[in-house]
């Protein structure tokens, strides 16, 4: 059986065409189409609008590295690198920044009260000054927000949005930014989940 209409999720998750998990995934046609369209809309836009293509892909690669799903990470780092022949250094910098600030999540604090028992401390990412110089204020602020929303979203406050505004982000840009961050968190989890599910079936296949 051949499927010419494969989506990014299937390629990254290593879904074998015609396998039981392929059938189960394809049975969710609306979600499958939605995932592919979101990927195209956010990371291959016809009109980038308030966030440049490089900014979109830099944030996406950063979030993918934070989430640690290998296939999604490799794909999105390569996508950033291949956007333009001059971007290899930026891709390396993004990868290093994400690796150095990655921490098991989700963590964060609740308002003082009974839920404080669930508070979990973890790092707040702030781009160091020399790196800020390389990334620019706008992208630096975006990465700081992406780290917050990915690893400790319960710590977000109106001040998080104010910091983006000070760095030159419009509200329209912020809405797209959080959508990109959310999407990569989604994509990393679908791929991680499907890969685990596929891997867990392997011993059974080997016996057959």
């Amino acid at each position: 059986m051949t499927h010419h209409d494969t989506t990014l999720v299937e390629r990254l998750a290593g879904v074998v065409p015609g396998s039981p998990i392929d059938r189960a995934w394809r049975a969710r046609a609306a979600a499958r189409r939605f995932a592919e369209e979101a990927y195209c809309r956010l990371l291959h836009p016809l009109d980038p609008g308030p966030i440049s293509l490089v900014e979109r892909r830099a944030v996406a690669a950063f979030v993918a590295v934070l989430n640690g799903e290998g296939q999604t990470r490799d794909h999105l780092l390569a996508l950033l690198r291949d956007t333009d022949p001059t971007l290899a250094p930026l891709a390396r910098l993004i990868e290093r920044e994400a690796e150095d600030s990655s921490h098991p999540g989700p963590y964060g604090r609740y308002p003082a009260g009974p839920l404080s028992a669930e508070d979990l401390d973890g790092p707040v990412y702030a781009v160091a000054y020399p790196v800020q110089h390389e990334l620019g204020l706008r992208l630096s602020a975006a990465l700081e927000y992406a780290h917050l929303v990915t690893l400790h979203p319960r710590d977000a406050t109106p001040e998080s949005l104010a910091a983006l505004a000070r760095a030159g982000w419009t509200n329209g840009g912020v809405a797209l930014l959080v959508d990109i961050i959310g999407f990569v968190n989604f994509q990393s989890r679908v791929v991680a989940g499907l890969r685990s599910h596929i891997a867990a079936r392997q011993p059974q296949l080997a016996v057959v």
Binding site: P20, W25, G105, P106, R154, L161, N185, G193, A200
Partner: protein
């Protein structure tokens, strides 16, 4: 079961964006995924609606989004009629002490809510032991992943409760 943490409740008010960004958020919300996207046709049926909502509630609970935990928790309760299990999720969060099928669904969703997301062999075996098939597990992964997207948008742009 001790009833000490009441902050995650089913009657938490609806989510609202932070002041100043409401108009842009309105447009974004129209495009956001929800668990309803997993449209179970007549065949294969897949994970029941209440369990999809429960998985989404578990992710929202893990991330700390009180409004979304309430919304998904109400849907789970309406479909499943399992007051105790929903209440335990609200009060105890992740890791969740529940056993049985709903405990397995919540634990797997909680594992997918983590960064990095790791659905272990033990998580998967537990789901299979509770009679979840390939379609059910695929639906659970999708529900948890979609909720991981939505909860980040709501926490990133508005009041958590």
């Amino acid at each position: 079961m001790p009833h000490r943490r009441v902050e995650f409740t089913l009657d938490t008010p609806a989510w609202a964006p932070w002041p100043g960004i409401a108009a842009e958020v309105e447009a974004l919300l129209q495009s956001l995924p929800d668990t309803g996207l997993i449209d179970p046709g007549p065949k294969p049926a897949g994970l029941p609606r209440g369990e999809r909502a429960l998985a989404a509630a578990a992710v929202a609970r893990s991330l700390g989004c009180r409004s979304m935990t309430a919304t998904e928790g109400r849907q789970a309760l309406a479909a499943l009629k399992r007051d105790r299990e929903v209440q335990v999720l609200l009060e105890e969060g992740i890791p969740c002490p529940l056993t049985g099928r709903l405990g397995a669904v919540i634990s797997a969703a909680g594992a997918l809510a983590r960064s990095p997301a790791i659905l272990s062999r033990a998580d998967l075996r537990r789901l299979q032991d509770e009679k979840l098939d390939d379609q059910d597990i695929t639906d659970l992964i999708l529900s948890a992943a979609l909720a991981s997207w939505t909860a980040r948008v709501t926490l990133g742009l508005g009041r958590p409760d």
